[in-house]
């Protein structure tokens, strides 16, 4: 933590020296002039962002990323919670459900997301099922994101559920709450509160992975950048797309840090009571 004027001054100076040296190293590199032109041309960036007659606007393409992210996020939160809940159902009756939940998480955590998108995006239309196969590539891509990420997020939920001590369930059940009610009113509210930071971490990752849906054809930011690069032989468009993703993920990353810090503080305060 920064404290007082002196440490602020020290950190400012060390930051300036560090980035100054980095700038000198890059500037002295043999190809730095070409790189500056090919990747950091301000005119090309502006052009790529707003779009031209022959290339799509990266700015509006990025709206598609945001849209895919928002839809996927909501669906993942719901599906993953369902999987996590099924996985902790006790008793032999629920064995087939538990088995399915375990198989699901094992499968989708094992297959690279890119392959899931390919298989889903090209396989489902081939099935020719009315109402499902004729969906747009964006919908199929989002579905693939949801299936893959739900496996991870289900595990996050599960770790939260496991972290709630059995005695909480015992207390709830002793009052007459059924297993489901104990889960709903006592276990899950505590579990979810504890896993918010890792959940947000997964969503930072999801924001970026919306770019992978481009392999099915939709023009989102990364693909729009590639089109501009191929058209003009100038790759400043990639820097624009990267900057947009960063602009979206950094606030979420800082918010996650903030929650983790708050949680730590609260736990410390709790330990003193």
């Amino acid at each position: 933590m920064l404290g007082g004027g002196r440490s602020a001054a020290v950190s400012t100076i060390s930051t300036l020296v560090f980035f100054g040296l980095l700038a000198v190293v890059i500037a002295l590199a043999p190809g730095s002039r070409e790189v500056a032109h090919d990747f950091f041309s301000f005119d090309a960036m502006r052009e790529a962002f707003v779009g031209t007659e022959t290339t799509p606007s990266i700015g509006s393409a990025f709206l598609l990323n945001i849209k895919m992210f928002l839809f996927a996020e909501v669906l993942i939160l719901i599906l993953a919670l369902g999987i996590a809940v099924v996985r902790q159902m006790p008793g032999p009756v629920f064995f087939p459900f538990r088995f399915l939940a375990v198989a699901y998480t094992d499968f989708f955590r094992g297959v690279p997301l890119l392959l899931v998108i390919y298989i889903f995006g090209f396989g489902v239309p081939g099935l020719q099922i009315d109402g499902i196969s004729d969906r747009s590539p964006v919908v199929l891509g989002v579905a693939a994101l949801v299936l893959s990420y739900s496996a991870y997020v289900a595990e996050v939920y599960r770790s939260g559920i496991d972290s709630v001590h059995e005695s909480q369930v015992a207390a709830a059940r002793s009052l007459g709450l059924s297993r489901m009610k104990a889960l709903r009113f006592v276990v899950l509210p505590q579990a979810i509160r504890r896993v918010i930071p890792p959940l947000l971490n997964d969503f930072i990752s999801l924001q970026k992975d919306t770019a992978l849906v481009a392999v099915l054809g939709p023009i989102e930011a990364a693909r729009a950048a590639a089109i501009y690069g191929a058209d003009r032989f100038n790759y400043s468009s990639f820097v624009v797309a990267a900057a947009l993703f960063i602009a979206l993920t950094i606030p979420l990353a800082r918010f996650t840090d903030h929650l983790i810090a708050r949680d730590r503080k609260r736990r410390r305060a709790g330990a003193l009571v």
Binding site: Q168, R173, S174, L175, G176, L177, K181, G270, V273
Partner: protein, 249 residues
């Protein structure tokens, strides 16, 4: 003697290889207060949990109001709602305020609306001197306040029977008194209770009957005056001797 409120017949329970209860028979009359004493691991906690059905019994039968509650097909959630259980470690719900802790089961099990349940909860909190804590979260309360809240939470369901599992063992010595006072008040009010405890003077003071548990069996029982002063069973004598040496009686 009136019909017993609670009756156990040959209740046994093991965890893996360990036989914790080896055939427990007992009956509790309405308004009776029974103290369970015995060293750690003698089966006191397990016995209470079996009565509340939180732990299923391996064999034997449990009757509440002459109805067998260990039968298959009995709605166990409904039975638990009639038998209060208070834990050594309080087990309050940390994400809920005092008021929410107390009203949870009234609302979600009995299906009463928020207003009715809160009115009743406030009356109880008032009675046990916790009304000003109603909106606090458990981690802001002292141990004694937490345990009193936990007892109120059980009372809110208007149980026929209250089971107390070493409810003062996790408390600092200066906080034990307030919890014991509350329990005495309940006994005076006619609450039927089964109390597992290490507080011998309290047991002697409050109990109508004392049961001494040893290795999952009730080896001695009787009025506190007899059990504490003239124990018959050598195990009881040995146990009480150790308690006296530790200065706890």
């Amino acid at each position: 003697m009136s019909e017993p409120l609670l009756r156990l017949e040959g209740v046994t329970k093991s965890f893996e290889e360990l036989q914790v209860l080896q055939g427990i028979d007992l009956a509790l009359a309405p308004h009776e207060v029974v103290a369970l004493i015995g060293s750690s691991g003698s089966g006191k906690s397990t016995l209470l949990k079996c009565v509340n059905l939180i732990e299923p019994v391996d064999a034997g039968r449990v009757f509440l109001d002459s109805v067998e509650i260990t039968l298959a097909g009995v709605d166990q959630d409904a039975i638990r709602a009639q038998i209060g259980l208070v834990f050594q470690a309080f087990n309050l719900f940390p994400h809920m305020s005092v008021l929410e802790n107390i009203t949870l089961a009234r609302r979600r099990v009995k299906g009463l609306d928020r207003e009715t349940s809160e009115k009743q909860a406030l009356k109880l909190l008032e009675r046990f001197g916790l009304a000003d804590r109603r909106d606090e979260y458990p981690d802001r309360l002292s141990g004694g306040q937490q345990q009193r809240t936990a007892i109120v939470r059980a009372l809110a369901m208007e149980p026929k029977l209250l089971l107390l599992d070493e409810v003062t063992s996790a408390l600092d010595p200066e906080l034990v008194g307030e919890v014991l006072t509350l329990i005495k008040e309940l006994a005076t009010g006619g609450m039927t209770m089964m109390i597992a405890t290490h507080e011998m003077s309290f047991a002697r003071d409050i109990a109508d009957r004392v049961l001494f548990l040893d290795q999952g069996r009730i080896v001695e029982e009787g009025p506190p005056d007899i059990v504490f002063t003239r124990p018959q069973n050598p195990r009881t004598q040995e146990f009480l001797q150790r308690i006296i040496e530790a200065g706890r009686l």
